[in-house]
């Protein structure tokens, strides 16, 4: 089996962010970039399926040159090859343009299954996977909690977590695009041997012109959505003291959490 896994590099969730000079993105100076969390789970799932079936995992990454680091990490974890889409003509696009480019690269490589995380932790559109599926004309599932390959390897049984504690089980015919949730497995650590082996593995760069897609449909030029500005949330300093005995305080607190903070339902 040939499994494609799409990964994105995102700012370290612990990094302290500042708005960049153009006001539409963060100032990347001094910010560490890491593999997007749910993508790590997609990689682990891909490696497990490949190990069971004797297949191979190919990592795809679209982003600036630094994306190479994320791909190198996936290679260290056990993927056999990687494809890097860092052509400036592919960058700065919305989920539609990005998914289109990834789909074109995957189509050229050929795959039985595409795995990706459920959403990127920086932009959080959660749409790239659906676009890839749409472009390829393959079935798609999102927020997947479990993936099991059928005996005949023609389909996967997937588990999706629904609202209210319900699970949905479905069979999806391959080839398909599956977006997994963080927490579905325990991602491995790259072994030191894996890191050394990754040095010798191929990261193939694919230019926009090689994708066979009209340039006007890729990158910034192909985007319908433009980020106008980003802003840091303002944190308040309000303190409210609830007095009374424990039972009264707890009851008042629950009401406030439900009705004012809206963190309980």
């Amino acid at each position: 089996m040939k499994i494609a896994v799409c990964v994105k590099q995102v700012p370290d969730p612990e990094a302290r962010l500042r708005v960049g000079a153009d006001g539409a993105w963060i100032d990347e100076e001094g910010v560490a970039f890491v593999l997007n969390e749910s993508d790590e789970y997609a990689v682990e799932e891909a490696l497990r399926i490949a190990e069971r079936t004797g297949g191979e995992v190919i990592a795809f990454g679209l982003g600036p040159e630094r994306t190479r680091e994320a791909l190198r990490k996936v290679l260290a974890l056990g993927a056999s090859r990687a494809v890097l889409l860092s052509d400036p003509a592919l960058l700065g696009g919305d989920a539609l343009a990005t998914g289109r480019a990834l789909a074109a690269a995957i189509r050229q490589e050929g795959a039985d299954l595409v795995l990706t995380g459920s959403a990127s932790s920086d932009l959080g559109y959660a749409a790239t996977g659906s676009v890839i599926a749409g472009e390829l004309g393959w079935p798609h599932a999102w927020l997947v909690m479990g993936v099991e390959l059928a005996e005949d390897r023609r389909s996967v049984r997937i588990t999706r977590e629904m609202e209210g504690g319900m699970n949905e089980l479905s069979a999806v015919v391959l080839p398909a695009v599956i977006q997994v949730q963080a927490g579905i497995n325990h991602p491995r650590y790259a072994s030191l041997k894996g890191i050394m082996a990754a040095k010798k593995k191929e990261i193939r760069e694919v230019a926009a012109a090689e994708l066979g897609v009209d340039a006007g449909r890729l990158g910034r030029a192909g985007s319908r959505l433009e980020t106008v500005s980003v802003a840091l949330p303002v944190s308040g300093r309000e303190v409210e003291w609830i007095a009374g005995d424990a039972a009264a305080v707890a009851a008042a607190l629950v009401t406030k959490l439900e009705q004012e903070a809206k963190v309980l339902r």
């Binding site: 612990e14 190198r72 990490k73 650590y189 030191l192 041997k193 890191i195 050394m196 990754a198 040095k199």
Partner: protein, 404 residues
């Protein structure tokens, strides 16, 4: 508390290769997930976290600079970064890895026969077998050349007699690398667990390195086969070659302990408010302490990086290793002390890692060559005079060399 972000004041990361950063990040993540949640409990209970050993093996933390027997063949800077991150977790855990890699796998690799290598290296690499290194004796620490343990040749092997003390992993070890005097000088032997006449017992009551096992080894008419001898070992130089490997790693390890203390103190100082609603980080004396720590850690990083590069180039001298070990472990000791001050009363409880590092570092300050002995080695390198064993005294006392 948030995740440790590393200490990088001068774009040190830019001096590392991509693999070196990946190696460090892997070990860092593993320490964060697997060591930090359990280590205070291990320290309290005086328990070596053996459950972590198979994982360390699987991730290739043991023997990582060797490249045969399926080992990864990392460069020495990567090896140093592994030690740094492990010691940021705990000096005892780093000791485990140092002993296994530098003091057991290294001598078997460097001085062993093909049979010994094939028998032990794969198992030691996975952690399926544990090793220990017996050089120090009750009466010979800084001056191991004076050792009393002997190995006498017999018709079909050797007989060992003597005692070793302060041996990390002694009771846990499946194989002990034991140094003994023979009629042709000091030689190394592989003594297996369960060999008649070989006993071991643990040292209790330690207030330092409590998450590591320290033992005493006894050899009483202990018969070992001829192939227990490490054939290429010869003279005090052999164990000192092992110690050089380990000490180089400790120079990096010290920085790990220092970084953890510095970072804990920094985070604490930003949160803790005293006087006029100010975080203590706003007070000048506290800032001076933090500035001292980050300055010394930064200098230490640049020092060990150069040592690692020299080692990779095959040019690293033992006095340069002494400088690294002496300096960086001292930095760790001072950082632990300053961090403890900044944490106030919280600095003496194990809700924070500082007091544990402060206690641990006392062992690290003493073992693998005490701070002062390394000072004398540097002193000898610059003056040409071996103060620990001045020529005049040496003539009377017979030749011996101080270095363990």
């Amino acid at each position: 508390m948030s995740r440790f972000p590393g200490v990088d004041f001068v774009e040190f990361d830019a001096l590392l290769t991509e693999e070196q950063r990946m190696v460090r990040d892997t070990v860092r993540a593993w320490v964060e997930d697997r060591v930090k949640p359990i280590i205070e409990e291990c320290h309290r209970e005086e328990r070596t976290p053996l459950e972590l050993v198979p994982e360390m093996g699987e991730l290739n933390f043991f023997g990582s600079t060797l490249s045969d027997y399926g080992l990864p063949g990392l460069d020495n800077v990567s090896y140093g970064l592994i030690m740094q991150e492990l010691e940021r977790g705990d000096s005892g855990l780093r000791s485990f890895a140092s002993v296994q890699s530098s003091l057991v796998m290294y001598p078997i690799h460097a001085f062993g026969s093909e049979e010994q290598k094939a028998r032990w290296l794969p198992k030691l690499a996975t952690g399926e077998a544990i090793g220990c290194f017996g050089l120090t004796e009750p009466d010979f620490g800084s001056n191991p050349g004076g050792m009393r343990t002997t190995a006498r040749r017999t018709a079909d092997g050797w007989v060992l007699d003597g005692a070793k003390q302060w041996i990390t992993n002694g009771t846990l070890a499946d194989v002990a690398v034991v140094w003994a005097k023979t009629e042709d000088g000091i030689r190394g032997f592989l003594v297996e667990k369960g060999t008649p006449g070989f006993t071991s017992s643990d040292q209790h009551g330690k207030f330092s390195l409590r998450a590591s096992t320290t033992s005493e080894l006894g050899f009483h008419d202990c018969h070992v086969p001829a192939d227990a001898l490490l054939p290429q070992s010869g003279g005090l130089k052999s164990p000192l070659m092992c110690l050089n490997q380990a000490r180089y790693g400790i120079a990096w390890g010290g920085l790990g302990a220092a970084m953890e203390c510095y970072w804990t103190a920094l985070e604490y100082a930003k949160q803790r408010v005293q006087f006029m609603g100010q975080p203590i980080a706003a007070h000048q004396i506290v800032q001076e302490k933090l500035a001292w720590m980050v300055s010394e850690i930064t200098k230490g990083q640049l020092l060990v990086l150069q040592l690692g590069r020299l080692k990779d180039a095959g040019r690293l001298k033992h006095q340069q290793i002494s400088l690294g070990k002496r300096n960086n472990v001292w930095v760790a000791r001072e950082c632990a002390r300053l961090a403890r001050e900044i944490l106030g009363a919280n600095g003496i409880v194990d809700d924070y890692p500082v007091i544990r590092h402060m206690l641990n570092i006392e062992s690290v300050f003493t073992y693998e060559g005490t701070h002062d002995i390394h000072g004398l080695i540097i002193g000898e390198a610059v003056t040409g005079i071996p103060a620990y064993n001045p020529p005049r005294v040496a003539e009377k006392a017979g030749k011996s060399k101080a270095e363990a």
